[in-house]
């Protein structure tokens, strides 16, 4: 087997691996929403309520806000 064959096989299996990762991701998205761990759809509101004075959909962390205000 020369380098070109190795490249071709590596490419093929790497692709297969990435396909699995992608399907895993789909599964992760839907299952974490079903279990109530996360609500992805609420992030759509980030674009709609985007004044600098609007309340963030998810604040970065309470501590940091306190630091800024101090």
């Amino acid at each position: 087997m020369d380098i070109a064959d190795i490249q071709a096989y590596a490419y093929f299996f790497f692709t297969g691996f990435l396909v699995l990762v992608l399907y895993g991701y789909i599964y992760h998205l839907y299952s974490s929403e079903r279990k109530g761990e996360r609500d992805y759809e609420k992030y759509g509101d980030i674009a709609l309520n985007d004044e600098v004075t609007d309340k963030p959909v998810e604040t970065i962390s309470e501590k940091e806000i306190e630091k800024k205000e101090a």
Partner: protein
């Protein structure tokens, strides 16, 4: 100073809006000249024999492509970044003197880079790699400009209030990383003057790769310049502007995440479709084709997500020209991402390659999708940036129809021309003698070239209307903050 309420600061966005319009006019004007030159060769001597060196097709073509890609499109990407970035991260550039400084430096160095490109290409200084024509000193300047943009992007993300990065931000980050990687690898070059100890011009260079390797790297770059210049950042724009303008949150946020990773995963492998039937390994060509066909899925994933965002709100398409621009843009996106995979099928490519059909494909993508979306973005931004209503809705609607007609004339004429050309090149008699000589095709194609030029001219006229509308908006009726919530205020 604590008394003044915090506001977004659009000074850098404004600067880039300006270059978007100016470089759009320059690039498209040259495009129209090119199109007329192809139909009427005497226009190569536009300014007489003496200046023919500067006005001929071959000198102007890279100026067109680079002005519209790195001028118009990139400026649009930067302008929208400096607008959307602040808003979805809920942090103002006014809060950081450092980021403000970097933003302005980014703009001015960009202008210097553009000037260097224009001058050097007019002088005929080029590396002869398509979309990567710049010689090494300019490449270095471009890398610096890019790094400055990176600092802006990650700097703003670093001081954000909104914890989650909105989907558009993901696309901007991908644009930044994608182009950085592609540009660096494709422009690895040896400055001949220094390598040879003083022979030739100091700015001249040759690629570090040669033969098939050079072609492979070039089209891995060329294809993904399309991906990360004409697709990814434009998707970033539509994911923000369409929901915001229509007041409807994106139809499915999960689908947007999925399409993002799908696009990242598939795009980088599809470049092989530019090199079908060339000397690259066969398996690579086949994979290029296969990945190109799969690429429909994530592309349509985004486009359908956009159209579904309008679900139940279709009356807005009729009533708002701004929504019209964006809905047509996503439709053209679907269109060119269906056409592309078809052209990537080997047997189709055998006919289509080297013909005008490819040029048609390019321009239904760039005029219908990229151009429309960038103009829509600026139409949405202008009232917010200048705090005034859009100057004229009627002008905008007229522009929309003129340009749509222009795009349709452009791609339909190129389809007919391309397929005719392909068929004539391959036609032969029973002994294998070619049925036509090259000049036969030129004669047959002349009417279609003329139609394309007229279509392009219409698009350019529309672009002037756009520029005028934005210009007049700067002195239109001032509006209150609450009028800018979603649908853009516009005067009849």
């Amino acid at each position: 100073m604590e008394n003044r309420p915090l506001e977004y600061d659009y000074s850098v966005a404004k600067l880039f809006m300006f270059t978007t319009i100016v470089l759009g006019i320059v690039g498209m004007l040259i495009g129209v000249i090119l199109a007329f030159q192809l139909a009427f060769p005497s226009i190569n001597l536009l300014l007489g024999e003496g200046l023919a060196e500067y006005t001929n097709f071959s000198r102007l073509r890279p100026l067109h492509t680079d002005a519209v890609i790195f001028g118009f499109t990139l400026s649009g990407v930067f302008a929208t970044w400096y607008y959307i970035g602040q808003r979805v991260l809920k942090v103002s550039m006014a809060e950081s003197g450092f980021l403000m400084f970097i933003g302005k430096l980014h703009f001015w160095l960009y202008v210097v880079g553009v000037a260097a490109v224009v001058v050097s290409l007019f002088m005929g200084i080029t590396t002869s790699k398509e979309y990567a024509e710049f010689e090494w000193p300019i490449d270095i300047a471009i890398v610096i400009v890019w790094v400055l943009w990176g600092i802006s992007v990650f700097g703003l993300i670093g001081i954000r209030r909104e914890r989650s990065l909105y989907i558009s931000i993901w696309y901007y980050i991908a644009t930044f990383l994608g182009i950085a990687m592609l540009y660096l690898f494709n422009n690895m070059e040896v400055p001949t003057y220094f390598a040879s100890g003083g022979i030739g011009a100091w700015y001249h260079s040759v690629s570090m790769y040669s033969g098939t390797n050079d072609a492979l790297v070039q089209w891995w770059y060329g294809h993904n310049a399309v991906a990360f210049g004409f697709t990814v950042p434009i998707v970033a724009m539509i994911y923000y502007f369409l929901p915001k303008e229509s007041g409807q949150a994106v139809y499915s946020y999960k689908l947007s995440l999925l399409s993002f990773w799908g696009l990242m995963f598939v795009y980088l492998w599809a470049g092989g479709h530019h090199l079908l039937f060339s000397t690259v390994p066969d398996w690579m060509q086949t994979m290029g084709s296969v990945f190109s066909v799969i690429l429909i899925l994530p592309s349509w994933g985004s486009a359908i997500n956009m159209l579904l965002t309008m679900k139940g709100e279709w009356q807005q398409v009729a009533s708002s020209p701004l929504i019209k621009f964006m809905v047509l843009a996503s439709t053209f996106y679907m269109f060119s991402t269906l056409e592309g995979p078809i052209q990537a099928i080997k047997s189709v490519n055998a006919l289509a390659h080297f013909t005008d059909w490819i040029v048609g494909h390019v321009h239904d993508g760039v005029l219908g999708w990229v151009g429309f979306m960038i103009m829509a973005a600026l139409f949405h931004m202008a009232p917010r940036v200048f705090k005034r209503e859009l100057y004229s809705k009627a002008l905008m609607t007229t522009q929309f129809w003129i340009q749509t007609l222009g795009v349709v004339l452009y791609f339909t004429s190129m389809w007919i021309a391309g397929i005719t050309q392909g068929m004539m090149w391959r036609a032969h008699d029973e002994f294998g003698n070619l049925a036509y000589s090259f000049i036969d095709t030129v004669t047959v194609l002349h009417p279609y070239y003329t139609i394309r030029a007229v279509g392009g001219l219409l698009y350019l006229i529309g672009f002037f209307m756009f520029a005028y509308n934005i210009y007049k908006t700067m002195s239109a009726r001032p509006v209150e903050e609450n009028e800018l919530q979603s649908a853009t205020p516009m005067a009849a």
